[in-house]
Symmetry: C2
Subunit: 371 residues, 2 copies
Amino acid sequence: MKLILKKEDLNKGLQTVQKVAQNKNNNLTSENGLLIKAMNDVIEFQANDYDMGIKTIVPGIIEEKGEAFVANPYLMELTRKLPSDEIEITKKDADTQMIIKGGKLKFECLTMNPNDFNEVEILENGYSHFTTTSVVLKDLIDNTSYACATDVARPIFMGTYLDVQGDTISMVATDTHRLALKTAPLDTPIENPLQAVIPSRLLTEISRQLPTDIPEPVEITAVRSYLAIKFGNVYIRTRLIEGEFPNYRRVIPTDFQCSITVGRSEFTGAVERASIVAKDAQYNVINFVFGDGEIHLMSQNPDYGTIEDYVACQMTGEPLEISFNGKFILDILKHCHDDEVVLNTRQNSPMLVQDKGNEASVFVVTPMRTK
Amino acid sequence: MKLILKKEDLNKGLQTVQKVAQNKNNNLTSENGLLIKAMNDVIEFQANDYDMGIKTIVPGIIEEKGEAFVANPYLMELTRKLPSDEIEITKKDADTQMIIKGGKLKFECLTMNPNDFNEVEILENGYSHFTTTSVVLKDLIDNTSYACATDVARPIFMGTYLDVQGDTISMVATDTHRLALKTAPLDTPIENPLQAVIPSRLLTEISRQLPTDIPEPVEITAVRSYLAIKFGNVYIRTRLIEGEFPNYRRVIPTDFQCSITVGRSEFTGAVERASIVAKDAQYNVINFVFGDGEIHLMSQNPDYGTIEDYVACQMTGEPLEISFNGKFILDILKHCHDDEVVLNTRQNSPMLVQDKGNEASVFVVTPMRTK
């Protein structure tokens, strides 16, 4: 193999596959590392583990075909610092060493047998298929998957539910204490409805890869217990979580006693301050009194003291006293974007939070019993 | 007690004492926390532990005299986020709570008995005394103390040696594998020579406090086994390490076989790249061949491969092959400032590194045996 690549293309290729190539949870050698493959007319970088496979095409000149299987966690750090913009990568088929040259630097990098690399499977004959854009998909992921559970006891809640029906794409995540739902329209309605629970940690990695400077088309295909995701030069295969995701629509409350409209940044500031002393205590409990014209916040920590604060608001309905985990409220406010947010509550019931005048995002949070 | 302070003054006062107030190594309640004292005409913030005591004066209005002993690690995070520029702090002598008010926020902060706080001792009758500036002192600390040992087995090397004689102030730190020495002139010669070994971790904290925007006079007095350091509104008392610091002048080599002048940033780049694969192996060994017109660097890692690089240089003397710990070389280069550095070496002997045309800083590093 002999390749000539630009430093930035090499680094972009490595950056795309590195997270999968260096999965720390992986003890199988064949699932660690990456494959550089120039057997046909393109230079491909691949990484593959049990959960996720990723491959990308990198521009460059193939002077001699070949492939190399490299498991070197420092490769990217090194190539980023190479003292030249043009990089030469060579490997004789018989050698176990791949040679990287840039400027006067020469790195003889140890490699493994490429036959031991488990290539990324191209999924075919999907039962369902739709197309969206990178910007829409990233927005859906970033505004929902944070709300999933981290507790392995209930694997289904470690995933984010993708629900595509007709001309609507929805994503939902919940840890049973709070829920985040976001919907977006589809340009072309889907033929066969698609429901899948995607491990949230894979979505985080997919979100990192999605380009946001200009919207790029993303094709998603469901095949058996996998999803195939294609955009630009990147192809990703992800495992799905098996099992039934609960009916999230039933969890969203509709009957309220009190509706509050409050400035997002003022409210965020007050919740942040109340959380400072509360976070060290168990559960970060903040007590809210939603009143006419004012929200009263109170939190306390037996070691440090009591904090009280007030934020101006508009209220319709009846005043109400209720307690929430401050971290959950802050998580929601971080994912709101309008100047004002609307809080819809009822005594001892889940609260519905939304940006004012935006129905696409829905947040639900259950109160805490303090008595 | 009733005080009115500006938020920025309150935060500056808390920031000055916080590190000492929250010494995690400290299990004594009376050595954790800070004292707010307004018993006379000034508002003082104090923190004090076995190693270091610090006090500072904060501008503000004293409406009622008093004091409060607070041990709340979140106090600063909270006051920084208070929704008002004017803060009121009150405490009734009989109460255990101090009340902080800013805007509509009210924080009832638990306090301890001020009689349990061990006030920062003002050291008097020093045996030696000198004055320098904050900029000079910070420069001396930052360019030497990093080279000290972190190994508690030999406490003397966990300190930085301050050596003031005549019109020269020197600081030296070594972990026996490398040494950093920096000297600066004194405007007014010292009367009685001053030698003291200051714990390096205290110097790091002192360096953080020293103002660098404009040079401020710093007064240093040696009293028994302590130093007193005064600048601006800040007074610091630090413990010294007892024992004799070795004669550092004897360690600095003077007889060389080869002298190399090399561009600092090119050389740094090459050492960084060679370190990337070597750092994971034991000791981060880099092999250097100092030759006529070129330095050849080589490092290897049994798991990842071998890296070779070349940097242009000027040489006088004889070519030489020698190995060093790459981390030590990078540490030195990070503290060089000129465009070019000079490396003076001899086979199997410590290497002397200096900025070209600057004798004030001296770095010594011992080679590694590789055979």
